[in-house]
């Protein structure tokens, strides 16, 4: 099986997927939830048949000087109101007015209120934490592959695969945001972390085989060596991926609640990408690097 020979097709495939999703994100803006932008989300369950219409809710918010309330009805009959940051006093005020005007009891299903500065800081710090973790993992891989030539490349390629998976996740979120009004919230952050962890693990497993084979099959050409290693680990990749992790998640996507579904789908795609990128991105880039193929990209055309 010659996987590496078709490497430019795989690159093109990834590129199309990433570019299309990211373009959607670019055009429509990144759908950040209040977890990152700051603001409030109030989900209310009114007594049967007493749910006020959107205009009423918006005007009640306006009375409390909040003029950017957005109302969405959910599948389970509750109402989600998003607005700028509500202090607890303002929230109580709004709730009291809503109770009076609807004439029935109201249950607060969920209330999130995040100060404007917090979200930005969390995002920034999370990015730093991921960057620090990536650098440490690169160093770890370089150390762990120290007996192989160009150990540095393995570390860099593992991180490139991880960046690829992060890009895929943002891309699928862009598509989801366009078609299903998804938002990037704190659960998204969890999914992202999971994929990053998995992506690194998976790439290392594939690289480990290359490491082992490069000791045994010294005379083999590098591209053939890498290809051989990928084919050898293919069965394990498919089994681990499709049969175990994905099944757990698929169940969550199909049977989980609405809030969990988005999370599960993002995870599903992200983990699939984690396996895909080890085989079709990280390993091919190793070969590309070895052959310095970028020298032929311009002028004489691609040599794939």
């Amino acid at each position: 099986m010659n996987i590496l020979g078709k490497r430019y097709y795989f690159f093109a495939f990834s590129l199309i997927l990433i570019v299309s999703g990211l373009t959607l994100l670019g055009i429509n803006g990144v759908p950040l939830s209040i977890d990152f932008t700051g603001g409030s989300l109030l989900e209310l369950q009114f007594e049967n048949g007493k749910t006020p219409d959107t205009a009423t809710i918006v005007s009640i918010y306006e009375k409390s000087n909040i003029d950017d309330a957005q109302v969405t009805a959910t599948e389970i009959g509750s109402v989600i109101i998003r607005s700028s940051f509500l202090t607890n006093e303002v929230r109580d005020e709004v709730l009291t007015t809503l109770r009076e005007s609807s004439g029935g009891d109201i249950t607060v299903v969920r209330f999130d209120s995040v100060g404007p500065s917090i979200g930005a800081q969390v995002t920034q710090r999370a990015a730093i934490a991921i960057a620090v973790a990536s650098i440490l993992v690169v160093l770890f891989i370089i150390w762990s592959f120290r007996k192989v030539e160009n150990a540095f490349r393995y570390g860099v390629c593992a991180i490139l695969a991880m960046v690829h998976d992060i890009a895929i996740i943002f891309s699928i979120t862009g598509i989801g945001a366009y078609f299903f009004n998804w938002q990037i919230d704190s659960l998204f952050l969890t999914a992202l972390l999971t994929v990053i962890g998995f992506s690194m693990q998976d790439t290392i497993v594939v690289f480990d085989r290359i490491r082992e084979n490069s000791n045994i099959l010294r005379r083999l050409e590098y591209e053939k060596l890498v290809n051989h290693s990928i084919v050898q680990t293919l069965q394990r990749s498919i089994n681990t991926q499709l049969m175990t992790v994905e099944f757990l998640l698929l169940a969550l996507a199909l049977f989980g609640g609405v809030t969990l579904q988005e999370f599960a789908i993002v995870l599903l795609v992200g983990l699939l990408s984690g396996t895909y990128s080890s085989i079709f991105v990280a390993a091919p880039i190793l070969v590309l690097w070895e052959k310095r193929e970028w020298q032929t990209w311009f002028g004489r055309g691609a040599s794939a």
């Binding site: 299903v109 969390v122 972390l193 990053i196 480990d208």
Partner: protein, 451 residues
Amino acid sequence: MIRNLTNRIILIVVVVALAVWIDLSREIELLNPITDEALFSRNVEPRLGLDLQGGLQVLLEADIPADQTIDPEAMEVARQIVQQRTDALGVNENVIQVAGDRRIVGEFPGLEDTESVLATIQQTGLLEFVDTGDYYPEPGTILVTDYSPTGEPVEVAEGETIYHTIMTGAEVDSVVVGQDTLNSNYVINFALKSNGAKIFGDHTTANTGKYLAIVLDKQVISAPVINDPIIGGQGTISGNFTLEEANAFAIQLRYGSLPVPLKIVETRIIGPTLGADSLNKSVVAGLIGMIIVVLFMVIYYRLPGIVAVLSILIYAAIAFAVFKWFHFTLTLPGIAGFMLSTGTALDSNILIFERMKEELRNGKTLNQAMDQGWTRAWSSIRDSNLAAIITSVILFWFGSSFGATIVKGFSLTLALGVIISLFTAVYVTRTLLALFLRTFKPQNYERWFGL
């Protein structure tokens, strides 16, 4: 080939038995067989996070310009005060933690009356000196006093005693811990402002020999007897204080109000139905996923598959026991981390089995294949798991220094899961497989290993 198979099996049985014991109990107790006294006991009730059982989470931030540094000790005192105030409301399982250098996270699982907690946290503490006459209130007693900040009369339920507040903490000028010159016990010296000194002087003169309760937020901290009239505004509170107790007491006197002003920067309330819904759905989804995994492993890998399933079950039992033992709170991100590490545990098994099959196909004997499968798969299991542990340590550090509980919960379960999976995949799976092979002595590899 494995030596000491019996020892290995005994170790596994002991570990599993312990884990199952913890998994199934709410409390672990060891009794002294002779006296029947408890030698050791530990509460191991499972703790569910806010997202799974509903509740309130607040993030408090010091209301001080960002470029100003805050004394970590002051933050700790503020944390203690918030803890005491919310404890006094009778809320269960509330956790108040300092996160980073200027934030405090408060979590109140299962809480429904969120308004009173939020109000309590933000109020400034109220220190009162209360005349209780001949009654000695134990520290911790809640007193009804006639002081009200608004000046309105205090409402009292029938049959309840109302005590007179002589003055509030606003009259306290300074507090220091000192030592009694006679018996070198620790004492607390305090000085009052001029107005307070007069009130205090008059009261202590008239009530020598009576009790004077020092009350913070209506809760008695201490109730010393007035030994002598205190005139001139300089007083001493003595008692059998240790240095720590004296310091803690002085802090409460000094900081009846918070040492650092706090503002609420983030509030999350999750209704109990939403929490229960998320919990049920993730449990159902987990079970369905697990059944598919079990079927797949057994059909595809045959005998080793059965062993792997056993090993995963043992893994889950140990992990759950560890979570319960150390009182880790289970949240949705925590479950995600746990799922990822379950995937890792399965992956380790799959790596080993694929390697074994490869060796068998190359014509190795069963024993050789087993040994080679393990040694060769080990380097990839070790390195990939180490990378996962490195990542989760960094994320945990980030999560706890920033009050990002999601990241913290995720990385903790991931790291623990990976460590436990190393033990089960490499030690348990291998031992069980050796045991099974020894028992069944399979000849037909095609049937037993799905070659």
